[in-house]
């Protein structure tokens, strides 16, 4: 018996594209957001009319926010029309096998109790759940963000999110929670990037490059000639 590798097309172009748009936007939003919350104070004696850097940071935050939102919406749409690995139901732990899968991932990849690597083609069940939680956090950031934004805009779209202010009591509360959730993304990103490297290293299936080209490699046992 020898092993040969088979190429499988896992991530379709829209999945890869929205993935990288989201990645870029989240990093931009977290960095600019943090600066909005804690601006660097340049000790300059300049007149206000000569500079606008803080305004620009906020502009970048809001621009990235819009791009992020629509990319996010598009990805949800793709969850309904995309291939089996992109389907919305892979993210919701509704089936028993997903819970069983999660337990196995927990044993093998998180607690490192068994040594045989567990190999899944798309997302493994635990990762799927973590993406689902990230989806909810995305949604939360969008609602709170546009809820705050509605105070600065007469545009129709942000007004759709105004209800979050009375719900949370005040703009202050909305802002505070919006800020706290930035840390959810920071921590998610750290873990997510590490795990991609981990799987690539342990399983050797090209996890890292799969999000660029879309292909993963799985082993096939083929009978010797």
């Amino acid at each position: 018996m020898t092993q040969t590798n088979k190429r499988i097309y896992v991530w379709e172009l829209p999945v890869r594209f929205t993935h990288w748009v989201n990645a870029l936007c989240v990093v931009t939003l977290a960095v600019t957001g943090y600066m909005i919350g804690r601006p660097i104070a340049f000790q300059s004696g300049a007149e206000a009319s000569f500079s606008y850097w803080f305004g620009t940071i906020r502009f970048v935050h809001f621009t990235a926010a819009f791009i992020f939102f629509f990319s996010f919406v598009f990805r949800i749409y793709w969850g309904f029309v995309g291939n089996q690995y992109a389907k919305w139901n892979t993210f919701l732990p509704l089936k028993k096998e997903q819970w069983v899968g999660m337990l196995r991932v927990l044993k093998i990849d998180v607690l490192l109790m068994k040594s045989r690597p567990l190999k899944t083609i798309g997302h493994n069940s635990l990762a799927s759940l973590s993406y689902f939680i990230a989806f909810l956090a995305f949604l939360f950031q969008c609602i709170t963000g546009f809820g705050m934004y509605s105070a600065m805009s007469d545009a129709f779209f942000p007004q759709l999110f105004r209800w979050i202010v009375p719900l949370m009591g005040s703009d202050f509360a909305v802002r505070q929670w919006h800020h706290i959730f930035m840390w959810v993304f920071v921590i998610f990103t750290i873990i997510h990037v590490y795990l991609v490297f981990y799987h690539d290293y342990v399983e050797g299936r090209g996890t890292i490059s799969s999000m660029a080209g879309g292909w993963k490699f799985i082993e096939e046992e083929s009978p010797d000639k």
């Binding site: 104070a41 300049a46 206000a48 305004g55 490192l112 202050f172 802002r175 800020h179 706290i180």
Partner: protein, 371 residues
Amino acid sequence: MSDKPLTVYEDMKSKGYSRRDFIKFCGMMAAFIGVASTGVSKVVKALESKSRMPVVWFHFQECTCCSESFIRSSHPMVADILLDNISLDYTQTLQAPAGYQAEKSLQDVMKNFKGQYLMLVEGSIPTGDDGVYCCIAGKSAIDIVKEAAKDAKAVIAWGNCASHGCVQGAKPNPTGAQPVHKVISGVPLINVPGCPPIAEVMAGVIVHLLAFDRIPQLDGLKRPKEFYSRRVHDTCYRRPNYDAGLFVQTFDDENAKRGYCLYKMGCRGPVTYNACAVIKWNNGVSYPIQSGHGCIGCSEANFWDNGPFYQHLASFPGFGIETTADKIGVVAGIATAAGIAAHAITTNIRKGKEIKEEIKESDHSQKEDNV
């Protein structure tokens, strides 16, 4: 009191105000409530023809700063006219009668002007322990409010106490203090938050009710949009410094002298809806930010719990006073990185052998392929 109630204008005349004073007042009020100049005549006509509106003004858990603000409004007529002309039939702090007579006048209004009287509430309502923490004439504040609201034409909640609970409602809220809108339902209600609200805003809301006979347009938190649709930050004269990123770092630095933005000093202007920067205080003299102090957000819900006032983010509930979400975030980030390092090392120990075997296998099959 005469049989036929005087109109606002008649009453003003009898107090010695001229027609000119009256028109000036109408113009000012029309401007505040945001009607176009063509609408001034509507206000004039209303105050000329409408008789005084019966009003009861309650005081519960409060400090009377709303009343103080109101009677010290910049325009002498605001208090004069409105306090007299809205025919304040019952108000614990200003009325002449006391005891039985005072309570009787309240009962009279509720009986004789069913569905016509305006109910103003200053102060929050304690709901803990059956409301024993605030009783007047043997009745608890909750019972009084519920009884009076039943037949009121509209209810105005003055100040942060009545709108959001203010300091009594701050954690741990020992008396179970609640804003008016949490206690009553089924009556049109207007929140006029602020600690205290601006006198001209209070007057404007009343004039709106008098002139147009309906409550002003309200936002999601039941605040009149004409005064609370914009944040202090949107009309702040220091705003150009904010956009330029010019911030005060400490109250005694060079930047404070230059009048830079107070954002980093914890200014709540960006999350506070009020008209302070437009109408200002004490006859338009100044407002907190103009005096060099950040906004503390006194017209917003839970502003006491969102402290400390001198930092941008509130301290995190359950942690030390000075712990902001950022500090906790950094700790969580470091913990995550440490966890990852541990996991990576363990991976190499537990799975190293397996990976080495696979590498060997791969070498092997490569050689085979080459053969």
